[in-house]
Symmetry: C2
């Protein structure tokens, strides 16, 4: 049979490519324990249900030149972070991450070896959080790499921590400092684009950007103890996440600038470069700590338990009645509105 619609046969078909990147990465024993009946290689994966649990479904996509550039993220970092962003979404509901589907759109600039490193990163993150990679697809792309990940998690039925549970009188908390990831990106872009860069970017900031740490343990603690009234992960910046809680819950959040955690590295980097660290702290995304609200009566117990578990906990403000909005109280006692603006990796302005 001749092929009049003739075209070059690619070196590997879709399943060949997927196999080359995924085969032998996770054991059948792990799949069995995780509840995977059928993994990669059929039209759909099959997983078994867990009695008394509900399923959490999250999907998060990373696009070359929108979410990362090759001078700021290695191939392994990109894979790691694509999965970590989704793990963080499950953490923000108080759930356990379980199964991942990975879709990659691969442009000519990404050869097989580079894609293999990307999958190395995906599997490194999967191993750390006990996630079974069970499917997905791979296509070609004209110019830019796209990695879309769907993550399925579980949570005790009826107990997922939503963003609409904030109530007046509660306090606002953060489970870690923010702005580090944005600071790291800022430093890498500056060093890459200017010879005038005076001081190296602290490695903790770069690490925060390239290998973020989702807060699964903190999310579970907040759910198990019944402390979390509302919860978001800081993927899009404290300001944006606080706005989402305020709007979903119909409340006003008042943050205290002096109580916002500021890492020493970010303070030093900002000072050395003449920048306002609060811009990073409030508007930098992808730190993957949790922002939430809880009843005042739990404050002491939460502080003690988080301390004993080695998880940071910062009380950064309070929930008030009023039209949905977010305000910041300065050190001098003035109140300013906090803009709703989200995180933009590579601003044009």
């Amino acid at each position: 049979m001749t092929t009049k619609r003739g075209n070059a046969v690619p070196p590997l078909d879709e399943f060949g490519r997927i196999r080359a990147w995924t085969e032998g990465r996770q054991s059948q024993e792990f799949f069995d324990r995780a509840g995977v009946t059928l993994g990669i290689g059929d039209d759909a994966a099959v997983v078994t249900d867990s009695p008394g649990q509900e399923w959490l479904l999250a999907m998060d996509t990373m696009v070359e030149e929108v979410h990362f550039r090759n001078e700021t993220m290695g191939a392994e970092d990109i894979g790691y972070k694509a999965l970590a962003a989704n793990v963080s979404d499950i953490a923000a509901m108080g759930g356990f991450p379980k199964f991942a589907l990975v879709s990659v759109c691969v442009p000519p600039s990404w050869d097989a070896a580079r894609m293999k490193r990307l999958y190395d990163g995906i599997y490194a993150c999967a191993e750390r959080y006990g996630v079974a990679v069970i499917g997905g697809d791979t296509t070609s792309a004209p110019t830019h790499l796209v990695v879309a990940v769907t993550l399925i998690g579980t949570v005790e039925a009826g107990r997922a921590i939503r963003r609409d549970g904030a109530k007046a009188g509660q306090f606002v908390f953060l489970t870690g400092p923010t702005g580090l990831s944005a600071g790291g990106l800022h430093g890498m872009l500056r060093n890459g684009h200017s010879e005038k860069s005076s001081l190296p970017t602290p490695s903790r900031l770069i690490q925060a950007h390239q290998r973020p740490i989702p807060s699964v343990k903190a999310g579970r603690l907040l759910l198990e103890q019944g402390w979390g009234a509302s919860l978001n992960d800081v993927s899009d910046g404290v300001a944006s996440e606080a706005w989402e809680i305020a709007e979903a819950s119909g409340v006003r959040l008042r943050l205290k600038e002096t109580q916002l955690p500021l890492s020493g590295e970010l303070a030093a980097y900002s000072r050395d470069n003449g920048l306002d660290p609060l811009d990073f702290v409030l508007y930098g995304g992808e730190d993957y700590v949790l922002l939430g609200t809880a009843d005042r009566e739990y404050e002491q117990a939460m502080k003690e338990r988080f301390r004993s578990e080695g998880i940071p906990l910062f009380i950064i403000g309070e929930v008030e009645e009023g039209l949905p909005g977010v305000f910041a109280e300065t050190a001098a006692g003035a109140t300013k509105p906090v803009s709703k603006r989200g995180y933009n990796h590579f601003p044009k302005g």
Copy 2:
């Protein structure tokens, strides 16, 4: 607080955009019936489990200039087909489609009105197959639109029809003619690129390409009756799907060229344009009929039941022992190997 990392505020933030495209599309009552505890608008969606069922998870992505061009697919068609491709994957396991997550990466050439039409197509397909759209994400993209869809379906525990169940002695079947979608694309590209086009492309072929019909009913019948031993949907062409069954099952598939269903429209289009219709039938993808194998003892019952249900059924070959492979028997009785080559929308050759 000044914004030193200043950048233009987009007209709508991510949630604003998603809301504009998705709000009010599906009712709370439908969500309740479908088992959706929490839909679009939090870090993750929440769905309840169904006792005695397993979950099917499929993910399929469409990329501008790889899977479609704007001269061959309208915005609504693209949305419809992105979901339909996933519905087809669930059908190929014998399952029910249930919940969808949609991720879109939107380049500047896709404005809000055009994106709305794309979502019109997604929801038209969702309504037809009873799918609840419960989440996803939206990002910008530098140049090309990407639509990634994850579809979650259910199937009776332990009963999903896999591709590795083919056995020597079984017959090979198709639940509809193939090559129509590829013929439609061929015609649209030809008419778009040449003034010499003699005859219009039959609308049935164009319709097959733009609005494919997944085979959920056929898949359910094959599972409920216990007839389907192995099953694939024809997303990548009969040749490629037959190869997948052959390799997964460790058998040889012998197809009979004279028994491959050929639609009158495709036969006419091929004749008028001096093309071999078999190239479309064997190597054209995205027809979303089902290719499978079944035991000989079921042949008569299957034929009768499919006829009474109004679903086509074509017996196109048989399963033999041997090294994995696919062969075609010509009208003259000769045997030729069938290439493993998959479907390529826009070949460069």
